[in-house]
Structure formats: structure tokens, C-alpha cells
């Protein structure tokens, strides 16, 4: 019996073999805890360098998972009376079980344009807020949250990021970028930005490791460091986000950034995703969202979905429709070319 191929998510495997190898090689070394070890120091420095940041100001913090990172960073950035602006489809608004609210903050939603917010709409929202006579009875916009790529695989262009950054800076609140899948944005053929540019435009962003090559781990980059996020260490601890054996994060991130592995892993996933996209296009299926990253969404006849389900697993995106439904295929750093080929053949053999 043929084995199924899997395109459900980008966190189905463990870590990249080089990462595992380094964890194994260092396993019985003894180091101090909580990130005060030399591996973590070097990983911090490598990430600063990749972001073009000077070492004496910029901070890099390593946390374990995405929801945890979002709730800790947002809690650190907001004052009590402030909320976080996000697209209504933003991960913090939909899929974090209320972690932001549990820390006392409201998510202020703007319309989603294929997962993105528009700079003009952010500006209009904030400006209208302060024109309202009752604004002191309302939750003040205290920061902007975006994800790159978005939850729908779409990308902000450099120009769009620049515009968002300008809106935030001119209104004096920080821009935070959730980069859970950042590797797959940076590797996209449609990408026209870079880590140093993100470090210039964002006030805080995180580079996702869980979905790109690590067992777990997210690297929070704060270009302005303690001037923006003072006392962040005890806040990490308070949020239960401080790993005792912090060097496990250091070793993993060092491996990912020592010689560009992170970027190669992103490129691998995107290339395979676009091959898949091309196959669907060749069969005449237009994508549900025009994504150039590792998540591909299609609106397909249920008949096709059912047939593909006999060779592959993937997610139904929203409820199953009468005749057609939306589905998502995800590739990752670990996706095998052969598996993609299997799926493509199944697609092409549809009549």
C-alpha cells in the first residue's frame, strides 16, 4: 500500500539534521542556564549581523513558540490603556486562544486584504481615533501587528512596509512583525525586502524557527534594544517563556545562522510550493489567494479534493462547500521533492 504524502502544516517534522547534529554534539556539555551561555551569545551576534545591527544596542531574545512570543512582546510594548492593531485575520486575533486579552490588551481589528492591512487604513483609523471626542473612553492604538508572510501566504512589498513604518513612526507607536514563517517570505521570488530592511522598518520583529528548521524557537529582534523594551527578561520569565536550558536555543540558532542554512531552507520550501502552484495552474485551477510563499490555497471542486485525499493529506480551509471548497497545501524546509512530485502527478492526472 502506498504511503500518503503530507502537506498539512510546516511543523510536522523535528529539526534539520544539521541542527540535530549540533544538539547531539553539545548534549553533555555543561553550561549556565537561561541564555547566559556562549552558544546563545554567538547566536545573538550572528542574528544581529544578519540584520545589519550594531551589537551594543540591539537586543535578540530567544523564546520557545509563536503565541508565547506574540503575547510576551505585545505585553512588553503596550501600556495599560493601549491595544494592538491587527488585521482581523491576524494570528493574534484568531488562533491564540485569547493570549493577548489574557495579558489585558484588546486586539483592534482592521479589514484584511488577503491577510494584509493597508497603511492608509491604519493611518485613517488612528487619526479618526484621536479626533473622536470620546477617545479617552476607548482603547488607544498602541502598536501595529503584522505578519510577514501573512497567515494567507501573502507578502508585504518593501514599499508597503515602508508605508506602514512611516504611519507608525509619525504616530509614535511601534511596528511589530510576526515572522513565524519569515524564511518563506525572504525566499520568495516576489520578495523585495531583507532582514536589514526589516530591522530598519520594524521596531520589533521575530524570526521564526519552529516552522523553519528548528525543533522549536523564535528569535525576537529589537533594533533599539532596551530603549524600547526595558526589563524584558523578567517579562519573558513571567510569561513562562524562559527556557531553563537556554543554550538549546543558542545551539539551534547558531546552526541556522552560521552559514546561511536558514535562507537555504526557506528557498527549498518556496521552490517546491511554486512547483505545486504551477501544476494546479497548468490544470486550469486558479489559486484562491495568489501566494508566492510556502502556503498555497486553491478553490477546488469537491470531486478533485476527494481524489487528491487518497494520496495526500492537506487542510480544508473553512467549511466544505456544496460543490467546491478551499484547501491549503503547505511545504516546508523538510518537504521531499518526491512527495511534491507524487502530489503533482495526482493533480495532473485529474480529468
Amino acid at each position: 500500500m502506498k504511503e500518503m504524502v503530507h502537506f498539512d502544516t510546516d511543523y510536522m517534522e523535528g529539526a534539520h539534521p544539521e541542527v540535530m547534529e549540533r544538539l547531539l554534539a553539545t548534549n553533555l556539555e555543561q553550561t549556565a542556564g537561561y541564555g547566559s551561555d556562549p552558544y546563545t551569545s554567538r547566536a545573538r551576534q550572528l542574528i544581529r549581523e544578519a540584520c545589519g545591527l550594531s551589537s551594543d544596542v540591539a537586543d535578540v531574545h530567544f523564546l520557545v513558540g509563536g503565541t508565547q512570543t506574540n503575547s510576551t512582546v505585545i505585553d512588553g510594548l503596550l501600556r495599560h490603556h493601549e491595544g494592538v492593531i491587527a488585521a482581523e485575520t491576524g494570528h493574534i486575533n484568531v488562533h491564540e486562544s485569547g493570549a493577548i486579552e489574557a495579558s489585558g490588551h484588546k486586539v483592534l481589528t482592521l479589514p484584511s486584504h488577503d491577510g494584509k492591512v493597508e497603511a492608509g487604513e491604519v493611518a485613517a483609523y488612528v487619526d479618526a481615533f484621536y479626533r473622536d471626542d470620546t477617545f479617552e473612553h476607548m482603547v488607544a492604538p498602541g502598536m501595529l501587528y503584522i505578519s510577514q508572510p501573512t497567515e494567507y501566504g501573502t507578502l508585504y512589498s518593501h514599499r508597503e512596509l515602508q508605508a506602514l513604518s512611516e504611519v507608525c513612526r509619525s504616530r509614535h507607536f511601534p511596528l511589530y512583525i510576526d515572522g513565524a514563517r519569515l524564511a518563506y517570505a525572504l525566499a520568495s521570488p516576489r520578495n523585495d525586502t531583507s532582514l536589514p530592511e526589516l530591522a530598519r522598518l520594524a521596531d520589533v520583529f521575530y524570526i521564526g524557527g519552529t516552522k523553519c528548521g528548528l525543533l522549536f524557537g523564535e528569535a525576537v529582534v529589537v533594533p533599539r534594544g532596551k530603549a524600547l523594551l526595558p526589563h524584558f527578561f523578567p517579562l519573558i520569565k513571567q510569561h513562562g517563556a524562559l527556557l531553563a536550558k537556554g543554550r538549546l536555543l543558542g545551539v539551534q540558532w547558531e546552526t541556522l545562522f552560521a552559514d546561511g542554512l536558514y535562507f537555504r531552507l526557506g528557498a527549498h520550501a518556496v521552490e517546491l510550493a511554486l512547483r505545486l502552484k504551477a501544476a494546479f495552474a497548468a490544470k486550469g485551477y486558479t489559486p484562491y489567494i495568489d501566494s508566492y510563499t510556502n502556503q498555497q490555497f486553491f478553490h477546488l471542486p469537491n470531486r478533485v479534493i476527494d481524489r487528491l485525499s487518497s494520496v495526500a493529506t492537506f487542510e480544508l480551509w473553512g467549511p466544505r462547500g456544496e460543490e467546491q471548497s478551499t484547501v491549503r497545501f503547505v511545504t516546508s524546509w523538510a518537504t521531499r521533492e518526491a512527495d511534491v512530485q507524487t502530489l503533482i502527478e495526482a493533480v495532473m492526472s485529474e480529468e
Copy 2:
């Protein structure tokens, strides 16, 4: 120089003279604090009776203000992983400075239909929630919040309340009604419900005093009492909502419910509001929202607004438009007939 007449809000004056008189008469009596006095007991009993509730189960709690009441009740009803469903225009979502989120809970918004939610949409939302594979990563709907009348002066009909109540009970979560202006709903010619019906259909509701005859005070009615809201007293204290001299609430509420004053005050305000509405209609101005309670909204030419502003104060509702804008006129238990007449004359004298 002529004095202006005021239709800004329904909390511009102190308390009804009978209420003041009772406060004065009892002022130097000595009673125990925190609501354990006989005035408070009697007030509780009068409210239970007005709601047709048996005294040995139903609880009545007196709090000071509306935002405080909403955040305390909602905090008492929700479990950690749950949020509160509300119209996107709901007071808790817009005008409480994030008090609900500060207690750790998300407001889950549904579309507003002139301030109201629709039972079918509530049911669809909840049912879709539990059909979603990722529902445990999302904030569970734990209660429904509605306001009667709504923030737009509109009313839920008895049939609509019945339908909402059925949706909540069949899905096993409580229905909570914010009655900040409840007197003005009960007194409306379009009203077809009653306090006993509300006590039957809602799981918790509050009768607003601040906007209807009292210096301050909201009466929270819990028909099922401690079975639904156990340990509510320390929660009131924790929310800073426990009045030391609790009998001030008891005396006021006793006065309001001893012989139907509450209902007479509501009727007064609604009658004057509808007189005003008729005048606008006679001049051919259609209301912005078709309200039969004490708040009246009109979309008027800026020219008319400016002229009326020379005799009356009232609120611009949203931003001023190019040619026309929306305005709100509010009457209350304290509104003088002569003031309404002054405004009507100004309206009628428009060319």
C-alpha cells in the same frame, strides 16, 4: 441673553428630588457598611418583586456604574478560555477603555443591526465555532452581551429576546442584558416585554439607575442567584465596585421601586423624545435610526445643525460630513417640557 437647552446625555443632572429627599432624611442614620443594611435589603426585595422573582434564590447586587458593572459581571460569568459575544457597536466593545480585556477576556463581535445582534447570527457563529477543527486555539463563546435599549436607542422585541434566549440556553451559555437605559426601553410604546419577562429570558441583567433618576447605581439581577454567580461579593470588592456606604444604594433604589417611580421617570423621558421626533418628522427630516426610546438620531443638513446649536447643545454622532451630519438628542427623567418646546420651536422655524 437666552439660556441654552441641553440634550447631550441623560446624566447631566443629579438625582430625582424624591431620591435626594430620602438621602437627606436618612443621612445621619448609622448603618453597617457594604450593603448589609436594612435599606439595601428592602431595595433588593422590591426589585425581586418587580421582576416576579422568588426571594430565596434570586440575587440582586448594587454596583456604582455601568462599565464597572459590565466588567464585574462578565468576569464572574466567563471561564478563562471564554469570551463574550457582542454587537460590534456594543458599549463593552467600544466605550469601556478595554475594561473587559483588562479582566482577561476577549469581546467576540458580531455585526450590528442598528445596535442589535440577530439570534440566527449568534447561533451560526457558535455552531461554526465548534465545527472548526482549530476551535481549541480560539476564544470560546462563553456568554452573550446585549443592551436593551441599544446604544442606538433601538429595542429588541419580545420575540427577538426569546429567540436569543433560546440560542443561549440550547448552547449552554448565559444571556446578559445591559440595561443602563432600561427604563427608557420599558416605557417605549414599541416595547412588548417587561421586567418579569427579562428575568425569565436573561440569565443576568442590570437595571440602570445612573441614567434614570439616581445619583449613581446599577442593580444587577441574577434570577438563578448563587447557582450561576457564586462568590460574587468578593469579585465586586476585587473590581473596586463595592461601595463602603452601601446603604446609599439601598436608599436610592428603594425610593425608585417603592411605588413605581422608576417607570414614571422612564415614561416622561420617552414621551418628550417622541414629541421631538414628531417635530423633526413634521419638517420632513427622516430619523437616522428609527428609535422609540429617549435617544433620537437624525441626519441633518449642517446648516440646520448650526442653527439649532445656537439654542441647544447636543452631540455630533461621528464626524461632521461635507453637507450633512448625524446628531443625537437625548432626553431623560429630568428633561423639562419647556426645554423640549424650545428645541421644537427652533426645529419648526427652520426654512
Copy 3:
């Protein structure tokens, strides 16, 4: 049958007759809400003047009750990773149903010396904290809370306040004084400080109205204003502490501070309390705590307590002992001389 006299608490009556008179006189006036009325402006100005504060920097905020005031101010002063230092007997640590923790902050307790903390112990605590290698895993001391007078009726001397203020300023965190009964401190013969001195030594303090002449109300004084507590208005709203009819606070406080009523009320209560203390002393009962304010504590034989209970009500302080128990007698602005005389006669007639 003779009526009982009451010494249970200092919030058994309503408001001072002059306060009630002013509320009545202004009752039907129409003013804007939330403290933007002229009464509130004048009250703010009178309090600033009484505190020797310049009007263009110092802020005065009016809230409704003590627990509410403490939790709002403390929430405003602390960062996420900080806690508030207090005596283990402090009101915020014992009798506020966890309101401070509900806002996310730990109360860091120091030993109580008859209700007071010692400057040396505060300094030692803070200095040891930062010497501890693991301090970033602990809750940082972010402010100091004291009450004047304390929950035990005791007073900080000017020298003690000066020392506490110096400890706080040299360690860069604010000193906050809970003045729920401040009138009874200022009127004490042992008092050697003043409102202007408190405004110089404290970073925030509140002047209690509920227990000294008002129906309700606490006046928060922030000498450095928005530089220390920015965005405090929405935080008040978020805490459910914003009174819709804010002018009720303005009218009351204006009355209290217009011609020194506040100070006269304090003097009245203290004088009667000391008369009572003298009577007990004359009978040979040494006080449990040597208080010179409106709360008097005695350790008495149960036999005496039972006999006094036939003429007066008062509180048992802690559990009833085998032979002796501690009791508290409280006077207030409203206490009648005749009632004190009745109690004194009962004390003196003990054999």
C-alpha cells in the same frame, strides 16, 4: 429601651450636612459628565492650593472608593515586572480581595511595626533584591505603599516620612500614601506633617473622603502630574472607577476644601477618640496600640467587653481570646459627643 451607641467604623453615616446641602442646591443643574464640569475644576484647584501645588503641573483625580483608588493608582505606577512593597498589615495586602493581584501585580510584604514599615527595612529589602543573582526571576520592587494613618491608627512622623521618601527617591521608585483616613492623621496632636509636606515627600497620595465627611470619594494628588502618571483618565475608566456624574465628586470636594471643613471634621473625631482613650487609661486599661487618631484599640477582659456590648457596638479585632480580647472603637466626623459620653460612663462604671 435605650438606644445603642456605635463605634464600629467611620463610614456608618452619609455625608456632612454642608455637603448634602450643596448636593441638593446643585441637584438639577445640568453639567457635562466625567469630571469636565466647573465644580470639579474648582475642587481640583482648592486641593492643589491646600497642598501648596502649582496648578499647571500637579494633577488631582477624583475616584469613588478606596480599594478602587489603590488598584487604579498602583496599576498606573507599576510596570509589568514590578510589585508594590507594603507592610504585611497593609490594606492592599489584606482587605482588598486581591484587587492588586487581579491587575497583575504582586504585593511584596515587609514586617509591620504597629502598621508601619521602617525606612531602613525598605532600603535593606531593595538593596538585597538587586544583590541577589536571581533578581530577574523575582518581582522587582516598583513602588512603596504606606497608609497615613495606618490601619492601626498609628502615624508616621515627619522624620519617618522624610526617610521613606529618601529611600524611594534614591532607589528611583515612587512613594504612594493611602490617605483613606488622612483627616484623622492631620488632626492628631502627634502629627507633625501637613498636606504640603506630603505633596513634597510623596509621589502620589490620596485624600480620603468616604471616611471623612463625604457620601463617597477619594482625591488622588499627583504633584508631578502627567510626567509620573500619563494616560490616567482611560485607566480610571478601564478600572470602572470613572463616575458618569463626575460633578457629584466636584461638588462634595469643593465643599470640603472651600473653607477648611475637612480639617475641622478631622479634629472633631480625634478629639472624641482621645477622650475615650483617656477614660480607658483612667480605668487602668493600657491600649493595645498607642494610637492618637480616630481608631482606638484596647486589650480588655472579656467580661468588660461583654458589659460594654450592652450599650455600644464596636469591633472585635481578631479572634476572641480565652480571657481577654482585642477590640476597636472608631470615631468619625459624625460621632456625637453624647454617644462618646455614654460609652465613657459605661467604661468608668466597670468595677
Copy 4:
């Protein structure tokens, strides 16, 4: 130059080689996320069996770290008005950066007896609480937190645990045991309890993995399952404690419990710790605390401490004294016999 030997903490290394081997062997397998994989199912079942629990009721949840586990469990167990009783030395009271308070709950402290609370003192505290007239103004005791072994390496005897369990059950609140170092309790020669006994006496407890053989991970055992802790999954997510690649926990725990590795690792550490203790005793140094687990505390002359510091690293426990200071030596599953021997020789060679 000789290398130093390390006795600082029990989380200086990675994971036990068998654990690493299993992680490596399964690394590229594809499984569903969030703990819904077969490894996690089997690990749950192995832990249930080790605890003598029936599979259809008891729940086992895997979280990443200790502070995170404590704050999530405690948040799940407490109602809004309740706090958690703990020894004043308890980890949740001292070293979790206010995580419990950040979730809105107070830690109610009792005296520490070498890290332990006494059943009689817990009972007295709770009973006095409900006898206090003002108890509804105070934080109600809602659960008891203890650690086994304690932060000082001491052990509760079976009889003591039984007594604590009885106090909790008779007062209707749960007993929660923090087992961050549970392996080192179970392996102690002075231990007279077992996992099945803990499962019978506690309402929730966690088995610590981070400090005993795993890269990270804590296993929360809930004998009564959803009846006690319903909706715990979204709470884990809300606390940022849900690992995306949940099977990493499953694989690790399965390895630890498949054939008793967990217990062997505990025995190894305790044996070496007691060898160390014996050496100190032989030199006439009495322990600071009489511990029979993997943490050993001694009060030593500074001269001795300085000399030992040339061969070994270990923690100063509290401030350095004038002549003597307290130090802590910790062994773990990973401690090498040779390292202990090196330290023992250094101790014995003291004059």
C-alpha cells in the same frame, strides 16, 4: 590546567543519550501537531500506568517548563476570588517573576519549615479565614501548592502528604504538587511515597522532566481529569505553553517511562549527592539543611568555600557572611562519578 567540576544546578546538560537517540531516530517522521500524535498518546498511557491511573478518566498534559506549568495549572484551578496557599519559600512565591499574580491570583504564604508547610498550619489558616467577619474582603484560599522535594531538598513523608491531602479535601480545595525534581524525591532513601500514592493524595501534580533527563518538559497529571480541570487545552494555548511540535514531548516522555529510565536517573543523582554529603560529614561539617535528595546545603567557613571554588562551581545560597556562608551543591542524572570524586577529594584535603 585542570578543568572545573560543576554542581551549580541540575539543568546544565541537554538530555539523556537515550532521549536524544529517540529524538534523532524519529526526527524526520511527520506527525500532526499539538500533542495529537501517537508518541504523545503512548507517553500519556505510560505515565498513567506508572501512576496506577485508569486511562479513561485521568488526564496527562505535557508542557515545556516549570514556571509555565505552575502558572497554567494554578490559573486553571482557581476562581477569580481565590489565591493559592504556599510556603513563603515556594518557587511560585519567590522565583517566577510574578507569573501567578500576572494571571490575577495572590500567593497566600505560610511559614516554611525547611521548605515545607505543616498540615496543622494550613488547616488553622483556612479555618481562621472563614471565621473572620471580613473574609469576603480577603482572598479566599482556593488551593494548596507544595513542592516535592522542596526548594531546599527536603521531603514530605507519606504521613505528611496524607495529612495535607486530608486538610485540602475536608476544606474542599485541591492539593497541587510541583514535582520539578520529583525523580530525586522518589529515589531518596528517606522517601516513603510513590507515584500511585501521589496520584491518590494530590488533585494535580507534575512530574518534572527538565531537571531529570529531558531537554525540556513537564508532565501534568490530573487523576480526576476533566471533572477537575475542564477546558485545559485552550488554557495551555492561552498561556503560550502549547508546543507546536508536541510529539517532541511525547517522544521524550515515552523514552523516560518506557522501562523505568526516569527512576534510574533519579537514583543516580541521589546516590552521588549522598556520597558528597557523607564526605562533608566526615570532615565535621554539619549540613545547613538535612537533605536526602540531589540538593545539598552546607554552612561552611569562607576559607573552605574559597578553596573549593578553585576546583568546583556551586552556588552561594544567600549573601556571603563575615566568616561563614551557606552554599548549595546540586547533582543530577548527568553528574559524573569522577566529578563527585574530585570534589570529595577537595573536601577531604581541607585541613
